[in-house]
Each structure stands twice: as C-alpha cells, then as structure tokens.
C-alpha cells in the first residue's frame, strides 16, 4: 500500500488508550495497525502527586501551575493496533515540500 509505505521511516506520534503517547520512527505495520517503532520516546502526563508537589512549590499568585510531561527513551516497541486512539505524522514547519 503506497499510503502506508509513505509513513515507513517517518516519525509518528501515537496516542494510546491510557493517554500516553509515543514518538518513534515507523518500521513495520499490518492490517490490524500494530506498529513497530524504533528510537521511541514515551511521554506521560504527570501524576496527581507531581501536580500536588508542583502546586506546593509554586507561589500561588497566578492560580495556575506548570508541570512538564515526563518522558523517557524506550527504544524498540510494538504498539498493538487495538490500544491506539490517534496516529499523527511529524511534519517540521518551514520544510520545503
């Protein structure tokens, strides 16, 4: 399939049912949308604890708290199609077509 072949070796951002997402290069896929990604980084939303701790440390003036997503390098993964909620392909802004 040329549509899918075009995604091979591209960086994809894949979101799973537990709201994590994974950014890696696509190496292989199939009918069930199982994706094999290399050089993958996993991104997690901060836990309630992290938000609580960040709130404790902030000065409270703006009523808002900023907490970064945690990320870690996990390398070679396969994401089963049935846990994927969203697939996005990375496109750098300003790159000529």
């Amino acid at each position: 399939s040329p549509v899918l072949q075009a995604f091979i070796n591209k960086s994809l951002r894949v979101t799973t049912t537990d709201a994590r997402f994974f950014i890696g290069e696509l190496k292989c896929t199939d009918r069930d949308r199982n994706l094999i990604l290399v050089n993958t980084t996993e991104y997690r939303y901060p836990s309630a604890n992290d938000v609580l701790n960040a709130a404790k440390e902030s000065d409270g003036s703006s009523g808002k708290v900023r907490v970064d997503m945690t990320n870690r390098f996990i390398g070679l993964v396969v994401v089963p199609g049935n846990v994927i909620t969203k697939i996005e392909v990375q496109e750098s802004a300003g790159r000529r077509g």
Partner: protein, 638 residues
C-alpha cells in the same frame, strides 16, 4: 518547531485494505530485529503501565515484623534467582525498596537511603529504619561482589548469568566494614527491643541478619584472599585444591566438580577458576610448568633428562640440556595453554562443556602431531635407549603419549556427555556405546604401551615416583576396563532391543543413514587417530548380524557381570589410589551410580532373555543411575 498532522483516518482506511498477515515494512528491517520489541500495554513488558504505583512508593510506611521477615525472604529469593541466571531487572531491581536505595545512583553510604527518615518514627517505622534498611544495603553489597567476581572469569554471558547492572552502582565504593557496622547495629537494635517482639519473631529477624552477615563475609573474599589463607563459611570444599595434592588429584576434583548434580552456580564456577589461576600462578603458588610437569611425570614417567629442572639453568647452546630445555619451554607454552584450559572448561555448564570439548579435541590432535616431532628431536639430546622389539627399536614418545592420553579421555567424555545431555536418540545408543568402548579400548592399549616404557629406576633413586606411575597406570587400566565392559554390555543390549524393533527409529525422508552418521561423528571426523570408521564397517560391528539373539544376550550378560565386579573392586580402593584425595565422597557416589546402572542394565538383559513376546522400553534417567548410563526399563507389552 515540529508539528504533527493527524492521519488516524487515513491510516485506518489504508490498513483496512491490507490482507491478513500482509506487512508494510522497511525492507531492511528484519523479523530477527523485531523480536526484541517491547510490547506496549503488556504488563510484563510495559513498565510505563506500572509507573504511578512506583512513584507513589513511600519506603517509610510502617511495617509489622512479620512483613519485614517476608520482605527479607522475598529479597533473598530474588537474589538467588539472579545467581541462577535471571536478570537483575526482573528480580532485585524490580523490588521497590532496592529501587529506592539505588535509583539516585548513590556513591556514598549517606546517599543510599530510603529517603529522609521520619523525625519521630513509630515502632513500625523504626523496624524499617534499623533492620530492613541495613539488610538491603548489605544485600546490595553482596550483589556488588557477585557482579565483580563472575564476569572476571570464563563464564558464558546470558547463558548462565546476566551481569547487566543497568548503569546502577552496587555500592562498590563503600567499604565492606561500614556495612558490617550497620548489620551489627541492626542486631544490637533487636537486642535492645527484645521486649517489643515475640521470641520467634526476634529469632527469625536475628537469623536473617546473621545469615546476611555471613554471606557478606564470604562474598567479600576473592581468589586472592583465599590464596593468602582466608577461610570460608560456604566454599571450604573448593579450598581443598589449595592444599595441592598433585596434578592428578586436582584434575579429578575438577572433573567431579563439573559433574555435580545440580550444576554448581556461576559464582562457584567462577571462584574455582580464580582459585586455580590468577596472575600466571596456579593455585596461588606455582607456575604452570610445575603442575604440567607433575602431570606428565605421573602418567608418562619420561626419561629423567626430560623434566630435569637443571636443564633450564644451562646457558651453553651446544649443551644437550639447553636443547632439551628449549623444546620443553615450547611444550610448556603450547601444551600448557591447552592443559590449563581444560581445567577452566570443567567450570562451564555441561552443555557448554561438551561444545567446548568438541573444539578442544582438534586442538589436542594437532598438539599430538607437533609433540611427536618434538619427541623425535628430544631423543637426540636425551640419548634415550629404545626398547627392542620384533618390529624394531621403539621409543617412548613421552610427550605425545601424554597428549594422546588426554585426547582420548576428551573423546570419551564427549560421548559420555552426549548421553548425559540426552543428545542421542534411543535407536543410536548401540552405535554410540560402541564408539565409547572403542575409544576406551584404544586408550587401554595406549596405557599398556606407556607402561612398557616405564623403566625401573636404578637402585635407591626415585622409587616413590616410579611406584606412583605404576599405580596410576594400573588404576587407569582398571577404570577403563570397567567402563569398557559396561559400555560393551550396553552395545549388545541395545543391539538386541533394536532387533526386537522396540527403539522407535523414526522415518527419515530428508536424509539417509550415512548422512546422519557423518553428522553424528562430526566432532571426530578430522581426527587422524583413532579414525572414524567407515559406515558399513561400523554398522556390521554394531549390528552383529551373524550372531543369534541368544549369543548377543549372553555376551551382554558376561560383560555386565565383569563390569559389576570391577566397579565393586574400584569402590573399595583408597582415595590415594583412585587419585580422589580431595573428592573421595564424590568418587564413591559416582562408582555407586555406575554400579546401580550395571544392575539396572543387568536386569534389562535378564528380562529380554526371558521374554520372547512384544515388549516396550522406557528409559530411566533417575539420579541414582550414572547420567551417561540411564537404565532401560523393559516391560512386557500388555
């Protein structure tokens, strides 16, 4: 700045058009590479799933004494699982307490804690602080020693042991004494808080702390410490080799160590190698030359000019002593390497040992050829007087004879291991036992030859050495004869079973018997002597087609009776005769297993002689039998 474009719908549509099993992939990405991928959402592989729990872990949560005991026991199980070959990531490092201590990569003792302890700890927290934390630190220190020892010697990574520590330090920079202080304080805390704990709980905690202290003491010692005279709580048996009792006794120890059931752990096998050889010194005290010459002297008893230490002091090149020394130096370098390697090989697991020996035998074969040349050259300098026979003058060829003897032993061992490791199918037993007795028979003839060259020393000289060699050769002949009879009995027994068509030879449409024979004998095909015999000849000597069933079973009976007699004789010999000074118990156990195998085989022969009708065979690999001689249980088919 990177942006992402949502292609979910596109992807869904395009993938739906694929066939089941059809892949879209990078052509350079192979299945082999894919196998290592972590599967997301699989609880065993996806650690991201577990994260919240581990982040929320509060190490100072109060614990009951029973819980502390449970945690300590769980940790010990994890530690042993690692010793047995599982990875740290799946054992100790998956433990939240250990993780708490190590995840900050502590380089100093103050940095390795469960966190800032509570200012006013409750009793449930005190026990964590004063008992569990010291215990965990001591455990990690033990692991640090283990992680240093095992990879320092020949151990096959990933096969027996996973040394990977994932970049986490194991308190290597922290002094052993500091950890001992912690354990002692923990023990003291138990004493001070006796009233709060029941007798059993206090004893249970105390025993675990004491055990950990003893383990720490032992792990802190390495080959060097033992060479300097340290004693051990657990490895005293191994330390016996340091009381050097001669090369043959040492070799016997290593062979028995290797054959232990269950196989010794990677730590023991690595430590034994450290004890054997460190910094070019064997057993912490002698150069390789010493143990090598000791072995050659005892087995081959060469003319005294050959191993004379004075040869090495001579500097004049025209002196024959100098010429002898030059060649002996070559031999020490060349054969010494293979010889010490043999000891190391016995420190590998049995399957790996067999694989290594299949390669080693080729090395010993070429060593034999090279040594024969050196033997011929040496004759000119030692002025060896030949033994005169009908076929002309014969020379001892001491060095190559010694090499040949070891080569034959290795070939026999390869076959014995083949039986032990379940490599041969039942219908091949007759042929493989035939080769075993063939190599034994060859070695027997060779030992006879060697014995004929052992010259009585002149009166008053070296009577002890001479007696030692004669006793060694005589014992070797007995040992060979016993196994030869046992193997021969098996040849006839399995030949008979083959004739009764009960060994289930499978159909082999993809190869013929000749091809399989060459495959089976592959390790030995390039050996010049003894040669692998031609397939047709092999089949005729194994199948004995001219012989009647009655005759075959009768020969089997005779051989097994002889084998039994000889093993019974062997079991009564003293340790010094059987060269098992430091492993006599293992020797006795081994002979008893062989005797039981003899009995079992004898029974099988008896059943087969009595029952003419259809029978079925099951192989009994029980521990009471020798691993290379499992016993066929023959039952009448109902």
């Amino acid at each position: 700045m990177t942006t992402f474009r949502d292609v979910t719908k596109e992807f869904l549509e395009a993938s739906g058009k694929l066939n089941v099993g059809q892949l879209v992939q990078d052509p350079d990405f192979t299945l082999f590479q894919a196998v290592g991928a972590l599967e997301i959402m699989d609880p065993k592989m996806d650690s991201g799933l577990l994260e919240p729990e581990y982040e929320r872990f509060y190490a100072w949560a109060p614990r009951l004494p029973e819980e502390i005991i449970g945690i300590m026991d769980h940790l010990l199980c994890n530690e042993m699982a690692w010793h047995l070959g599982s990875a740290l990531s799946q054992t100790l490092f998956a433990n939240l307490y250990i993780d708490k201590l190590l995840s900050s990569s502590p380089m100093k003792l103050e940095q390795a804690t469960f966190g800032t302890p509570p200012r006013e700890p409750t009793p449930g927290q005190e026990i964590v602080l004063h008992v569990l934390q010291p215990y965990c630190l001591a455990l990690i220190k033990c692991c640090g020693y283990m992680a240093k020892q095992v990879p320092s010697e020949h151990i096959y990574e990933e096969e027996d042991f996973v040394p990977q520590t994932y970049g986490l330090p194991l308190l290597q920079n922290i002094e052993h004494a500091e950890i001992v202080v912690l354990l002692d304080s923990a023990l003291q805390w138990l004493v001070d808080n006796e009233a709060a704990l029941s007798k059993e709980l206090a004893a249970a905690l105390r025993n675990r702390l004491k055990l950990r202290k003893l383990l720490l003491e032992d792990f802190a010692k390495d080959g060097e410490s033992y060479h300097e005279g340290a004693t051990s709580n657990w490895v005293e048996n191994m330390l016996k080799i340091l009381n050097y009792a001669g090369a043959s006794n040492t070799m016997t120890y290593f062979m028995h160590f290797s054959a232990r059931r269950p196989t010794p752990l990677p730590y023991s096998r690595s430590l034994l190698q450290s004890l054997l050889m460190k910094d070019m010194k064997v057993l912490g005290r002698m150069p390789l030359k010493c143990i090598l010459f000791d072995d050659i002297q005892e087995l081959a008893y060469p003319v005294k000019e050959l191993l004379d230490p004075k040869n090495f002091e001579v500097e004049a090149p025209q002196s024959p002593k100098y010429q002898i020394a030059k060649r002996m130096d070559w031999f020490v370098e060349r054969a010494g390497r293979s010889y010490i390697e043999l000891y190391r090989n016995f420190c590998q697991n049995r399957a790996r040992l067999r694989r290594i020996l299949c390669k080693a035998v080729l090395d010993w074969d070429s060593l034999q050829v090279e040594s024969e040349e050196i033997d011929s050259e040496l004759r000119d300098f030692t002025n060896e007087a030949p033994v005169h026979t009908r076929d002309g003058p014969l020379y001892s060829f001491s060095l190559s004879s010694w090499v040949y003897h070891y080569k034959l032993r290795i070939m026999e061992l390869i076959i014995l291991l083949g039986f032990e490791l379940d490599i041969f199918p039942l219908h091949e037993f007759d042929g493989m036992y035939w080769y075993l007795q063939f190599y034994l028979r060859t070695r027997s003839g060779h030992v006879d030859r060697m014995r004929s060259f052992v010259r009585t020393p002149p009166k008053g000289e070296d009577q002890e050495g001479y007696n030692k060699t004669i006793s060694m050769l005589n014992y070797t002949l007995l040992e060979i004869a016993a196994m030869q009879d046992l193997a021969s009995a098996c040849v006839y027994l399995y030949c008979a079973l083959n004739r009764r068509k009960v060994l289930g030879k499978p159909k082999t449409p993809y190869g013929d018997d000749l091809l399989r024979y060459e495959g089976r004998m592959k390790p030995f095909l390039s050996i010049g002597c003894p040669e692998v015999i031609a397939y047709d000849t092999f089949r005729s000597v194994v199948d004995n087609e001219e012989m009647e069933m009655k005759e075959i079973l009768s020969y089997a009976n005779d051989h097994i009776a002889e084998a039994k007699k000889q093993y019974q004789k062997m079991s009564k010999l003293p340790a010094s005769i059987v060269r098992a000074n430091i492993c006599y118990d293992s020797f006795r156990t081994n002979v008893n297993c062989l005797l039981r195998s003899c009995v079992g085989v004898g029974v099988a022969i008896g059943v087969l002689s009595r029952e003419d009708g259809p029978v079925e065979v099951t192989l009994d690999h029980g521990d009471k039998y020798h691993p290379a001689f499992p016993v066929p249980c023959i039952k009448v088919k109902s």
